[in-house]
């Protein structure tokens, strides 16, 4: 991915390597917050917000601290701590200074700590050896891809609540099959970048 241009990275991360449907990351919030459109939009916004910041900070931590001091094996623990404290910090900051946004994102922010899409995207950026700007762009793309898939899925799922689904297939089961069909649609982007 490191040899791609900025635009190709965006296309690649949103559509071709969609973090939810092609990389299988962040499935818990995907199924958990997609029952209503409002919660899906809130979650998507919160992920975009946190993932871009986490992408920048983990890059700095990795290349300025872990790599020079030969502490690469501590990557997992360092990243998760950074993300957890970042989420807390963002939550406090929003609560104080932008209450309107806090009211919208509020309950979704703590959930993001255990959203593997955030940690996963940061680890992918490091594994692909992207530069600072490129990993920012890639984080943004991954987050937008997450949001697009989540909102699409929530839209479909709202319609399913009105449909007559056979009893054993109800709720999560039909949700997963729907996700599979959406993943099939995203599959057609494969080979674009």
């Amino acid at each position: 991915m490191s040899e791609l241009g900025y635009f190709s990275i965006i296309i690649s991360t949103i559509f071709v390597n969609n973090i939810l449907l092609a990389k299988f990351l962040g499935n818990c919030p995907f199924l958990g917050t997609s029952k209503k459109m409002e919660t899906a939009v809130g979650m998507a916004m919160a992920v975009v917000f946190v993932l871009v910041m986490a992408g920048a900070i983990t890059w700095v931590i990795y290349y300025l601290f872990l790599l020079p001091f030969d502490l690469v094996y501590l990557r997992t623990i360092a990243f998760i701590l950074v993300i957890a404290s970042l989420v807390q910090f963002v939550e406090l900051f929003l609560k104080k200074s932008i209450p309107a946004l806090y009211a919208g994102l509020g309950i979704f922010l703590p959930l993001i700590t255990t959203n593997c899409a955030v940690l996963g995207a940061c680890v992918i950026n490091i594994d692909e050896e992207l530069g600072f700007l490129k990993s920012l762009v890639a984080s943004f793309g991954f987050a937008v891809g997450f949001g697009v898939a989540l909102i699409l899925f929530a839209g479909v799922r709202e319609r399913i609540t009105l449909a007559r689904v056979p009893k054993p297939l109800q709720d999560t089961s039909i949700g997963l099959i729907t996700a599979g069909i959406i993943a099939l649609a995203f599959f057609s982007f494969k080979g674009m970048v």
Binding site: A22, K23, F24, N27, L31, L119, I174, L176, G180, A183
Partner: protein, 195 residues
Amino acid sequence: MAKTITQEFTKGLWAEIAPFRLVLGLCPVLGVTTTMENGIGMGIATTFVLLCSNILVSALRNIIPQKVRIACFIIIIATFVIVVELVMQAYAYPLFLKLGLFIPLIVVNCIVLGRAEAFAYKNGLLFSMADGLGIGIGFTLSLAALGGVREVLGTGTFYGASVFGPSFQPFEFMIQAPGAFVCLGLMLCIMNLFE
């Protein structure tokens, strides 16, 4: 505590089998189960982390302050994940390469954190051990089952051995991303039928 240790252990195997009943920790369930071998490897790694973190959280439950407990749990879990990562890199390198990204992601597997918060922080050492082991083995079994189904249909092999002979045309769909979702959905449906 009305339940016995055996009951705490066996509930993880069917009554509260993690990926199906609680719909938690789905990322590795969908991501690594292209073959049964990967599924079992991932299951064992998660079981180890779950068991160790349950033991440590339970042992330290009187010391960990209520307010920062989640951060403490995450540090404990991350430590064991690093142990697994290093051990696998040393002794099971091919499997390590196949599971790749999903090993560090055991940290954010909701099952592990969920058991620490919901069970180990409130219960004694032995009960927490039984709970961790039970949920972990249940998780491994589900991964193995899903991996088995996807491997048989998607590549025509079962644990590496050919099932249908050379003339079988594998369903490519099953080992690709969309197949994972559909397959898990259908298995959940079959499980609901048996209720």
